[in-house]
Structure formats: C-alpha cells, structure tokens
Symmetry: D4
Subunit: 249 residues, 8 copies
Amino acid sequence: MDKGYLENILKSVSTGRASVEDALNTLTHMHIEDIDYAHIDHNRSLRKGFPEVIFGEGKTAGQIAGIMGKMAVQEEIILVTRVDEAKAEEVLSGFPEAVYYNDARMIVRKKKDILIKGRGKILVLSAGTSDIPVAKEAYITAQAMGNEVDSVFDVGVAGIHRLFDHRKMIDDASVLIVVAGMEGALPSVVAGMVSRPVIAVPTSIGYGVSFGGLTALFAMLNSCSSNVAVVNIDNGFGAGYMASIINRI
Amino acid sequence: MDKGYLENILKSVSTGRASVEDALNTLTHMHIEDIDYAHIDHNRSLRKGFPEVIFGEGKTAGQIAGIMGKMAVQEEIILVTRVDEAKAEEVLSGFPEAVYYNDARMIVRKKKDILIKGRGKILVLSAGTSDIPVAKEAYITAQAMGNEVDSVFDVGVAGIHRLFDHRKMIDDASVLIVVAGMEGALPSVVAGMVSRPVIAVPTSIGYGVSFGGLTALFAMLNSCSSNVAVVNIDNGFGAGYMASIINRI
Amino acid sequence: MDKGYLENILKSVSTGRASVEDALNTLTHMHIEDIDYAHIDHNRSLRKGFPEVIFGEGKTAGQIAGIMGKMAVQEEIILVTRVDEAKAEEVLSGFPEAVYYNDARMIVRKKKDILIKGRGKILVLSAGTSDIPVAKEAYITAQAMGNEVDSVFDVGVAGIHRLFDHRKMIDDASVLIVVAGMEGALPSVVAGMVSRPVIAVPTSIGYGVSFGGLTALFAMLNSCSSNVAVVNIDNGFGAGYMASIINRI
Amino acid sequence: MDKGYLENILKSVSTGRASVEDALNTLTHMHIEDIDYAHIDHNRSLRKGFPEVIFGEGKTAGQIAGIMGKMAVQEEIILVTRVDEAKAEEVLSGFPEAVYYNDARMIVRKKKDILIKGRGKILVLSAGTSDIPVAKEAYITAQAMGNEVDSVFDVGVAGIHRLFDHRKMIDDASVLIVVAGMEGALPSVVAGMVSRPVIAVPTSIGYGVSFGGLTALFAMLNSCSSNVAVVNIDNGFGAGYMASIINRI
Amino acid sequence: MDKGYLENILKSVSTGRASVEDALNTLTHMHIEDIDYAHIDHNRSLRKGFPEVIFGEGKTAGQIAGIMGKMAVQEEIILVTRVDEAKAEEVLSGFPEAVYYNDARMIVRKKKDILIKGRGKILVLSAGTSDIPVAKEAYITAQAMGNEVDSVFDVGVAGIHRLFDHRKMIDDASVLIVVAGMEGALPSVVAGMVSRPVIAVPTSIGYGVSFGGLTALFAMLNSCSSNVAVVNIDNGFGAGYMASIINRI
Amino acid sequence: MDKGYLENILKSVSTGRASVEDALNTLTHMHIEDIDYAHIDHNRSLRKGFPEVIFGEGKTAGQIAGIMGKMAVQEEIILVTRVDEAKAEEVLSGFPEAVYYNDARMIVRKKKDILIKGRGKILVLSAGTSDIPVAKEAYITAQAMGNEVDSVFDVGVAGIHRLFDHRKMIDDASVLIVVAGMEGALPSVVAGMVSRPVIAVPTSIGYGVSFGGLTALFAMLNSCSSNVAVVNIDNGFGAGYMASIINRI
Amino acid sequence: MDKGYLENILKSVSTGRASVEDALNTLTHMHIEDIDYAHIDHNRSLRKGFPEVIFGEGKTAGQIAGIMGKMAVQEEIILVTRVDEAKAEEVLSGFPEAVYYNDARMIVRKKKDILIKGRGKILVLSAGTSDIPVAKEAYITAQAMGNEVDSVFDVGVAGIHRLFDHRKMIDDASVLIVVAGMEGALPSVVAGMVSRPVIAVPTSIGYGVSFGGLTALFAMLNSCSSNVAVVNIDNGFGAGYMASIINRI
Amino acid sequence: MDKGYLENILKSVSTGRASVEDALNTLTHMHIEDIDYAHIDHNRSLRKGFPEVIFGEGKTAGQIAGIMGKMAVQEEIILVTRVDEAKAEEVLSGFPEAVYYNDARMIVRKKKDILIKGRGKILVLSAGTSDIPVAKEAYITAQAMGNEVDSVFDVGVAGIHRLFDHRKMIDDASVLIVVAGMEGALPSVVAGMVSRPVIAVPTSIGYGVSFGGLTALFAMLNSCSSNVAVVNIDNGFGAGYMASIINRI
C-alpha cells in the first residue's frame, strides 16, 4: 500500500467525504488480503518502504496475474521475478502497461516514473558472460527501487586488466554489487580496491566442483576483504534490494 | 596511514622543512613495509578509510606487538581481533595505553577519542547468551570505527515477546547486526520488522546438526526477508566493519 | 484389517455359522497377503490401529488399484499418497466412491463417515504459499485418521504479525503441525508460543543453499524450543499420522 | 514462575496485604530478569507449563548458580543439563538440596515431591551401552516433569530377541523414547511393534561413517514406520520434554 | 575365454591339427581384443573364473551387440546389466537365444545349461517393493554364475514378524544378500540372526534425507553385526557376483 | 557360551547330577546377563559361532574386566578391540593369561589353543606403513577365529612392482583383506588379479581431501573389480571377522 | 591476436603504409572488443601464447559464430569446447573450413597447419570406455596447441596387465594425461611408473558413491605418487592446455 | 639409490673387485629393503629420478632415523617432511650434518652440494602470512631437487597492487607455485597474468566456511584460467616436487 493511497483515504475521512466506518473497513480489509493461495501483505509497503515482490517460480501465470490485480489498486510499482518468457507473455496480456525484461526474467509494472531516492550510484559488476542474467536481475531491481545504476559485465579475474579499465566507475559507486560463479574471486578483488560496501552474489554457473554455486558462495564468505556481505546463490533480486536500502541511509 | 599523518609530510615539503627526496623515501617506504612475517599495507587506511586490522589467531604476542609497533607511528587507531587473555596481557605490557575487551577478545589502541562519523545508530542483537562474544566483537568494531552503537542480547525466537519489548530501539536503528547460532532464525524475524539493512552473523554455537554454524548460515542466506546479507560464521568483526561503512554512505 | 471385520468372523465361529477350519483359514490367509509385487500386511490395522498406507510414487495405477482391491474387503479406510492427477484418474475409474485431493496429491477411500477419535484439535500451519501441498497432505491424513483439523497457510516469519492474528487458534490446538521451507524458522517461533507438542515438517521449497529442504530440516532440529520433533523433508503424511496418534493418547 | 507463587501475590493484593503498586512492581520485575549474561524468562513456566531449563555447556559454575539463585525464589523445580562432575560439585556446594545425576550429567533441584501429571507410562529404550548417558538424560527429564518412566538399555537390533524379551513393557507404554547411535535402526523396529508415538534420539556414538550421529539421524528420519518423529543428535533432554507434553494431552 | 575353448586349441596343437604358430596367433589375438570403443579382456574368464560383464548403461544397442558378438565365440555365458527394454529388444534381434529379464534389466545369453558350482544356497532378501529391481539383478547374476538361489521380497523392519515367517529359509542359506533403501536397517537385523556372511546392498529408494541411497549405505557400514560387508548403491550385480565367489570357496 | 560348556550342563541333567530346575535356572540366567552397564549376550556364541567381542573404546578398564569376568566362565576365547596400552595393562593385571597385541591394540584371552577351522589361507595386505595397526587388527581377529593368516604390508600402488613380488602368496589365498588409506586404490588392483573374494578396509590415514578415510571408502565402493565388498573405516576387526566366516563356508 | 598479425601492423607503420593514428586506433580497438554478450580479450594470445578458447555450453550457435567471426580476423587457430552435434552443424555452416570432432564435442578452426612447438610427446591414457570423450577433448586440445600426442584408452586398474602392455609408450612420453572416473586409481599407478609429470583428470562416470566424479577427484588429490596434479572434473580441455604449456618449457 | 652408487658397484664387477654373486646379492637386497615397519623402495631413485621422501607425520623419531640410516648409504639426498621441532632435534642428534627448517617443518640431509638441473626459475607466491609454512615446504623441496627458487609472501588479492609490485619476478618464472587459503583466489589472478604453468596449493588456513581448505581447493579447481593444476590441501611438498619435474622437461 503506497503512502499516498493511504493519505487519500485519511483525507476523505477528515473532509467528511468518507465515513469513519467505511475507512476503517477499507483499511482493515487492506491489511492482509487472502486470495486463497496467498496472504497479500498490503501493510508491507508502509512498514518496509517497498511492496511485497512476487516470486514467479512455481506460480502459474493466472496466480501471478491474480496477485498483481489485487496489488495494482494500491501500489505504485509491482515487481515479479523468475518468470520465463511464455509465462510472462500470458501475464502481460492482462497488464499491457507492464514491461518484461527477458535477460533478467522479470516483469516490472509502474504507475508513473520512478523517483530517484538513492544518495549515490549503484554499480553492478559480473565476472562472466553466463552471470549476466543474475546481474541484470540486480540491475532492474535497484533501478525499480529508485536508484541510478551502472553495470560492467564479463570482467573476471583471469584477465584482471579488464577490471582496471573501469577503475573510475568503480571508484565513483556508493554501493557495489559483484556477481560471479566458478571460483567466485571477483568480489574479493573489487572490495580490496574500494572503501564502499560490496554485496556479493554467487551464481550457479560452473561445472564439476563448482557445486551449483556453493564454491563461489563459500569463497565470497571467506573474502579476505572486510567490506563484503553475501546473499544466496543466484539471488540477484536480493542483492539489488539490499544495495537499494543501503543507498538510502 | 592516517590522512593527517600524510598531510603533515606534504606540508613539510611545501614549506621546505623536508626535501622532496626525504619525503619520497618516507612515503615509498611506508607504502608496504616488510617485517619478515608480514607485508604491512600502510596505504590501506588512505585507500579504504580504515587501517588494516590484525587477525590475532595464529600469531604470537611478539608478532602482534611487532606489527602494532610499525603501525603505531602512522595510525590513529589499531584493532586486534581474536586474542585470548594470556596473549593480550603480554601485548599490553608494551602498549599500556591500549585496552583489552575480554568478552570480545579484542585489543583497541587509540591515540585520541574517536569521532562519530556514522549517520545513524547501529544496533547489535544476539539470540542467545553464548552468542555474546561474537556480538561484542561486532559492537567494539563498530564503535572503534566511529559509530554510536546499542545492543540487546539474549532475545531469541523461542520467546518472541522479549524481542518486541525492544521495538523502539529496533525501529530507530539505521543499520542492524543480528547474531545467532543454532537455527539462525532471528535475522529473518528482525528484518521482517524494519526497512533498514540487516547484517546477519551466524555463530558456531549449537551441537548435533548445527554443524558449527553452517545451519545458521544457510538459514540466514535463505531468509524470506530481502533486507538481509550475511558474513562468515563467527565473523563479528566483519559485520561491525560492514555496518560501519554502510552507516557512512 | 478392521477390528469390526475380525469381530464378525469370530462371531460366526462362536455361533456356528462358520467352522473353526474356515475361520482359521481366512485369518491365516489375511495375515500377510502376497500379490507378487507386495506383501500386504493385513495384521497392521489390528497391531497399529490404522491400515497400511499406500505410497503411490513409483507404483503404476494398476499396482495401486490391485493393492486397494485386496485391502477394500477388510478395511474401513484406505489412503494413497503421492499420486499425480493422471494416475489418480485411472485409479478412481475402478473406485468411483474414492476421492482425489488435487493439492495434497492423495486418494482417500472410506466405507462410512470417519468417527472423531482425537481428544483435541490439530492445527496445521504453513510458512509459504509453496508449502501448501505438503501442509494439505498432513491435513487430509489427520482428518482421515479421525481428528478435527484446522489450518492457516502463508504465515511465515518475515511478517510475524500475520502469525499473531491467529493467536487464538494457535492457543486452542492440542497438537500443532508446522510446515516450512527455506530457513525453516516458523516451528521455533510457534513452539515458543505454546505448551503443546509441535511436529515440524521441512519442505523442499527454496533455491541455492536451501539444499532441497536440508537447511529447513537442520534448522528445525536445532530449534531453541524444546517442544518440537521433526519428520523427513516433505513428509506431510508422516506428520499427520504422528499428530493423530499423539492426539489419541 | 510457578502458578502458586503468582496466586499468592494476587491474594495479597486482594486482601490488602500488598498494595497494587507493589504487586505491579514485583510482577513486572519478574517478567524478564536481566542478570547481565542472561535474560531469565520468568514468564515461561506460566506460558509453557515448565520453567526454562539451564543448558550447562559453556556456562561457568558461577553463572549456573547465579541463574539458579534467581529462579529458586519462584520455581518449584529447576533442571540443569550437560554439567560435568567438577562443575556440578561446585554448583551443589551452594544448593545442597539439589541432586546431581552422574550418568545423565544433570542437576535437579526440587522444592517438594513431583506430582505425577502424565496419563500413561513413558518408556526409554537404548540400543547400546554407550547410548546410556543420552537415554538417562531423557529419563531424568521425563521424571522431573511428572511422569512415570521405565527403561531398558542395550537392546540393539543385532540381537533382536533381547528386544522381544521386553515385549510387555513395550506394549504398555503410552509414549516411547528410543535412543540409538551407529546405524540408528532401533526406532524403526520398535515403532513397527506399537501404535504409540515414538520419539527417536540419534546419538553421536560410532566411528567412521557414523559421522557423529548423522547416519543414525538420517536413518531415523527415513523410518519406514510412520509413528516416529526425531530430535537433534544427543538431545536426550528434548526427547524427554517432548514425550512429557505428549503424555499430558 | 572359457577353459574348454582354450583346451580345444591346445589339443589341436598337441595332435598336430593346428600348428604352433597358428595357436600362438589365435591366443595372442584373443588376449585383449580391441574393437575401437573397448579393449575386450578375453583373458579374464581364465584369470577370474567368469567372463567380463557388459555394463549396458551409456552404451548403444549396437555397441553392446558388437561386444557380445566378439565374446560369443569363446564364452559359455554372457551377462549384460542395466539395459532398458527398448535397447534390449534391439540387442536381442541379433541374439534370439538370449533372454531379457525385465525387472532386473539384464540380458543373459548362455550356450548350454549352467552347472551348479556353489556349495550352498544363496538367499536374496529385500526390504521393500521398490527394492525388487536391484534384488532381481543380484538374483539373476548369482544364478547365472552357477548357484541355487532363493528370494523373499518386501520384508522390511517396520513389520519385523514378516521376516520371522521366513526363519527356516534364512537359517539354511550359506550366503545372504540383503537389499534395502530408506533407513537400510534390514541387513543388521538379518545378520544378527545368522552366522553366515551377509552382503548388504543399499538402494537409491527413498526421498528427503535418504540422499539417493547414501543413508542406507552408511547405516549398513555402521552395522552393529560383524558379518556384514557392503557394495555400492544399487549394485545388485556386484552383490550377486561377490556372493557367488564366496559360495565357491 | 561355548557349545562344550552347554553340553556339560545337559549331561549333568541326563545323568541326574543336576536337577532340571537347576539347569533351567542356569541356562535362563546365562541367556542374557545384566551387569548394570551391559546386557551380555551369552546365547551369541551358540547362535553365531563366536562369542560377543568387547569394543574397548569408551569403556573403562574396570568395565572391560567386569565383562571379561562374566564371559570367562563360559567362553573358550575372548577378544577385546581398541584398547590403548595403559588400559590394557590394567585389564591384564586381572587376566595374566591374556595377551595384549600392541600394534593391533587388542587383548586376546584363550583357554586352549585355537583349532584351525578355515578351509584356506587368509591374506592381509596393506598399502602403507601407517595402515599397519588396522591390518594387524584384521590379522589377529582372523587368527583368533581359527584361520591360517599371512600378511604383506606397505605394498601401495605408487610402486606396483612391490605388489607383484608377492604374486604367489596372493594367488594362494582363499580370502583377501586389503587395507588402504589415502586414495584407496589397492583393493581394485588386487581384486583384478584374483578370482577370490576381497574384503576392502578403508583407513583414516591421509590429510586434506582424504576426509578421514571417506575418499578411500568411496573409491573402494566404486571399484571396477566385482569381487570386492567393503567394511567401515578402520574396521580391521570387522574385515577379519567377515573373512573368517567366508573361509568356513 | 596472433603475433604475426601484430607484426604486420607495426611494419605498416614503420614503412609509412599506415599512420600512427590508424595503427593506434586498430590496436586499441583490438585490445578488448565488446560484442554485447562478451568482452573478447584479443590481447590474450600475446599475453598467454594462445587465444581465448570458446566454452560452448550455454551459448547459442549464433553467439559462438559471432565470437568466432571477431576472432577469425586475427587468430591463427580457434577452439570451441562442449558443443553438441546439432549446434556444431549450425556453427559450421558459416565456417566450412572448421572441423567438428564428434567424440570430443569440439570445433577446431585453423588457418594453416599447426607447427609442432612441444619438446616431447604427450600421452593420453583413459581408464574406461566411457571416459573416452573427456580423453579426446584433452587429445584434440594438446594437438591443436602444437604437440605430438598419443593415446591408449580402456586400460583401467582392474586388469593391470593391459597397462603394462603399453609400457614403452608410457616411458617415452614427456607429459602424461590420465583420465579416469569411478575410483580414479589409474593416475596413481601410472605416476608410480614414470618420472614425468602426470595431469590427472577425474570424470563424472560412475554411479552411487562416485558422486559425479568427486570420488575420483579426491582419490587423485590423495595420490601417493608425488608427480600428479589435478584439474576439475571432466575438464579434458584444461588438462590438454596444461600439458601443452608444460611441454614447451 | 643414486645412479653413481649403482655405477660403482657395476664397475667393481667389471674390474673383478667384486664377484657377480656379491653384486647380485647387494643389488637384490637393495631393491626393496624391509625394516619391519617399512618397505624401503631403493629402486625408486633410479626409476623416478629422486629417492623416496619420508613423510614424518605419525612416525616416531626412531623410525625416521631408522629409515634415514638405511637410505643414507645409497642416496645423495634425503628429505623428511612434517616433522615438529622436538622430533627433529631427536633425529638430528644422529645426523648432525642434516639441517632442520623450522618454518617448513622439514629435515634435509645432503652428501654434497645440489646441482642445478632445472631449466628456469621456480617462483613460490603465497597469499597470507599464515600460508608461509606450506609455501616454505614447496620452496625447500624445489631447491633440494636442484632448482633456482624465488619467493614472495603475503600478496593476497585484497590488496592486488602488492602483487603487481612483483610483476617482473612473475614474468620471469618458468613454473609458478601459488599458495593460498581462505577464498583461494590468488592462483586464478596470477595464472591470468602469465603463459607458464601454475601449480596451485590450497591451505587449511581460515575459519567458518573455509572448511579446512576445501573452499580454496574447489575455487582453484574452478579457476577460469586454464594454466592451473592443483594438489592436495597443505601439500607444499607435492607442489615443489611437481614444479621440479616440470622444470626439467
């Protein structure tokens, strides 16, 4: 529930356009809305500053559209993650104003342009070509939450000079998101170059003893640089979310 | 190398009190200083905003004192982590102005009072009594890096009302550090209550399938709240460091 | 073999309607019946108070129907778990009186209405939308075994107030089944609120370091609340069964 | 806080012996008492029906005695688990009325005889000689919580006839606790013999691929009997606690 | 290479029907025959008493038939394991005298009836219905290697009386193969009843913490009975082979 | 209970030297004898052909002596495994006729010379010097159970020619026990050379990714030779036991 | 970027055929070329002596062809690994001069014949038939990098005499690549026979506790021979690459 | 057995100073010498170019000295690894000409100066101060095997500029040994800078999810640079050995 939406209801009450009973009813109803397969937590955008995000994996297009429909009344912005192309097409048929980002596998639906609320720039770096989908998920999330975002992809540690070519961009960022699979070494190297917080995202890219991202995850948690904290494997969304709220402090 | 220390050298040059050759020599020498068992990275406090921190585990009291001696010339503050009481006593005999924090197992040595540089307050929460040493390590680190810090210990999820008793302190924090062993559930619950970034620290407390902190770590990485990022098991220092640089953005 | 069924045979003998030889023959035959691919343990409902339950995974519709046919003669109720829709349809063509529960993936076939034998109410709670199938399996099982059952779904710890909205229902339950994937924190929180036994069921919901339910399992076994015991990952049936026999003590 | 203790305070108020202010003060103070290293949850015995149990591992004798001192005023019974002999001796010097159980490594301190509150008998079975300490922890806990308890030790599956020698005791129990290390097979066999709930406790006994109890734990969670739920490795206390509250339903 | 086949060649030489050069050439050629995708080890049946067995998984029907063709000249018996129905049909079109065992997924091709060479009887026991394919693989292998073999399926430990119903068969066996998934408890119980060697075979049957057979494997290796040795998960063939050579000592 | 001992009792009854009541009493009492910390299974040597073996780890010298005392009346031979030197000395003070084998860490106590009951020779091979204690445990056990035993130590695969130097001994054995740590390759190589059963014993020797014997264990279970079965890590006793009963078939 | 190609540009400048600006532009542009989904590191063949190799897995035929097109201008040789047949056909339609190696799943495209740069011969050995694809990947890579290469396949340790038949070839190699799945024992045995470096490649061949190659990997890292180093599971390309640069020292 | 030593014996025979029988006897005896707890493989230095190295862990000072005594007659150089200070002192009392390297925990005993046999320089790099013992083990080994060796310690990726300060030394090396614990990122970065082979050595340095070196090991095996091969955790000796034989090709 967007703050503006709530303000309108309260103003209606104060000006007599709505009775106290009606407003109470609306607000109570909105608190948590039960649509059989989900408890929608409308209170969340007030409490947390951003509405609940819909995790698309394991939900049908119909369920996603159903939840979006309920949220659309009250929220300025709706994010859906982990949606494949076929499902997205079906969802978008009912929300033609929403946009599907193919590489990030996300749907974004906004009522108006997003205001920049972040203090500085967020920079998303990725080690390899195959890490791009996760990096894009972080990018789109951070942008949708009101931040200026930059990105540099395919700058892994096997050719460290490629990283140094982007030195200025790295120095200028206020928060960095570093995405890497395989040996997961990039966050340590980047964090050693800056004094800003680095959110490290391991990806499931690799084979053999990459263990679907575990090796990268453990390497990042063992980083010899102290300005690193880590999110779950392939969790680009979580990294974008965390970077955003850091950027607003 | 503290910025003020560098400024003094440069001023000496500009006013003719020191020759260019001497200054060059001093600065080059300072860049990285080799004392046989360590490359001291004096450049670090310039580059990262805080000097290198001495990891005490596996170093003798003599080695710790040796590194402290080299750093003491140029740094305003020196932190040593993971030092047991006996070793600390030996180190402090040479640095009587330094302070040993028994529960956090840390030595702090400062030249003058620490200036508050953080924007808001950092809050350290711990789930159990046994998690306190790790929580204290985070507390002392955040304080030494120039932040106001509060703490509440022993508020685990088995008695969730204890947590709600501290609701105001939780709402007022700009960054939260949440320390928990065993099932590691506290960060999820706390992060669900606030819109601020939460740094989660798993501890090695527990037995059986706690796996020395792994279960808590994985639970935290799986948090259903998005404003959580995680550091290594028992890494209170890293959490305090990360929270500090977030609090300065 | 239902107790009533056995009673009938014995009465026939005592009244002379059946000879001792015939009865002996019938009972011996019933003890364990071999239908090539299974030893049906007819003695079980006498020994354990509930007939053997058919685990549908890895059995063909024909095999399931075959076993059901043998059991139908003697048992009041038959449960089949882990049956997908296509297989269920095939099975039900021969047992039109049986019911298929789509979300729980179970078939229930009963001769008459189930008598309530449990002392109190069993409550099934689930953390997320995706945990519902496992929760429903527990629900249907507990109901089929003669209990009053209630349920609340999607009350995970990231929005802990949703849980408190159902406080009364939680306080009134005599046994609680708590189903959760990801970080598996819900059982600890719920168990801290009540003095009743909590059966925790980890689910395979999650990604990355959720390890197909292992993280939730280990978190539950590490619960800082003592009134928690745990069953295998996704084992909703086992939790429903265990809760039922606890509710009858 | 024992219910009787609370009743006394309230009666004092109602009869004018204590002012409302004093009573309020006493009760608020008692709610949660902070003794620096612990938040004592006096409210717990009201909420959960049994006071908080002191986990002795990692606490000094002084800390244990300190917590016991605070609890002794208000609680009828106090349990301390995982206390070695030396520590116990030190604690008991201040509480001569308390008893130390050497094999269970527990301290029990009670004000008066424990009333039997359980409906039936609890039976504790253990597979091997080395599992006895864990089995005894379960035994003492269940007894202290007001149950009649029986036990049979060293009846592992390699000599299954030893188990059948105790058939009657097994059939008569209302709840069974089965303790086993190594291959952890005993709970499955026992649960197959009875219709009552079985709480399985894996122990860390074994070598090689026993993995400190993990193999036994996983075997128990995979039990082909449905009336089994499991607690953490070596958690005799938890099993005794869980069996007790089941026995009271 | 069957011993009889070799004898014939040598006799031809001794009687002058074949020259030394020809015989030498034949024997050398036979030693190891290279058919591009395999080194066929014809020497093996001499050295080991049984020809190489063809592991069907990952080989095409064409490759299997190719190897069988080369072996058919010299070997009395050929076994192929892990062949699905479609592939088997294709292979059998070229070897109409061979037999495909559907449940064991094996092809057996023999020139004449197999002589019984084993001293006693081999007994194959399986815990559940789903373990039957692995049990059958052991059965067919032991039979093909010249042993009398008996079997009892679906006698798991959850209904231990089913096992005792077969007591005589168990007592009479000279070697026992015990196949079980899930908690893998059956070999321990059976081995406790007999003085003969037990070959335990874990199967990949189960879910959750059965870990595709690992839990059963580790339970079997931890058996508290000493007359148990273990083979790889689902390795029915290996168990049948090992039991056979034990039965011949 | 030795068969001869039983025979004596029965003869006393048949000749009237003992009453039926007395004999019954003696035999019942002997069945399973409870000495507080253990159920001694006297029936075992009748049922299994060899008395229970005392696992010394985790038992005090007093407990070991106590069990030996009870067994000594009825058994021809007593084995104790995993006893360190100090404990052994204490035990032997009460059983001067017993022998302690330092490298195998075993105590053997026999009433008279052991009869050879095995058909052929058992050969114990070990890969490295550090594997000798486990190999010796197997050696002593097989010898004590009435077998001729040979051994060759330190013939690992890094110098495969050392193995071939002992070809004749390898060919002559009826059962082979192969002990190896680190990469655990020796059993595969040896099993490829013979047609006899090979019992493989992984040891905990190694460092890094030897994982205390797990790597050797898994390598052995994956052996490309089919005449291999495996026992638990460091379980020399189990291998000696298994080889013995194989050798008697 | 091939050295010859660079030389041509520089000669053009020195002879005036190209201006300094043009050459600078060309070289800068070549350094790293961004084609949206990849940073092509043209500098690599200068720095590392061999151009970047295209990892085909997870790339579309179009992306592979796109990268090949950019590289083709400047490189003498292009390797693509992990390409299935369908994809390869599509790629080759645009590069008819390139060759697809079916068993190694590689594409090789060369401008002219490869010069032999290696000092000695590289020998590729594989343990089983199923390991051949990985062995062939190593073979083709080493050949493409300018080495004489030999190979022997299917010489596993279960028939060690097959290995000794190739003794001369083994003794003559300057570097050996040994490929094995299952128990991974072959590298240890081979390394024990030679004084040359052995690169061990574990493969994912096996079942049960082969863990997709982990057991072979750990066995190889534990090799009791010291002249062994290991690459990732199934990484035939890496082994061929490493052997090549060793062979050039 | 040193080649010179063998030459002397043969010359004695050819000149008649020794009889053929004596020489034969000496040589046969030398082949493999059995000193009860070890088979000394005197043939090894002929076959492999370097004598067997004594792994000191788990051997007593007496055993080490015993083996050294046997080897000293025939070998030019003897290496002992993993010897602590106390044990070394005891060993050196009998071999005063041997040298103990405290940080590498090695004993080196040589008859004369070591000839340089390697083609180029070997460079040993380590990431942290705590990795130095492993790095020194590699250093001493490579030196003892006849190579020029350089080293740079404490150049981890958190301060990547420290690495670039040593660029020339890195470019000049013919083989590189890179030692790192924690996240194990250094080998990837270094290998990306050079065209020479890199032997990566993971160390057990770290805490939490460093898993005693496993994370570093897996990161190194996942290196995105192809010129990397890996040895076991903490195996500095193996890396030095492997680098030496590479350097001789």
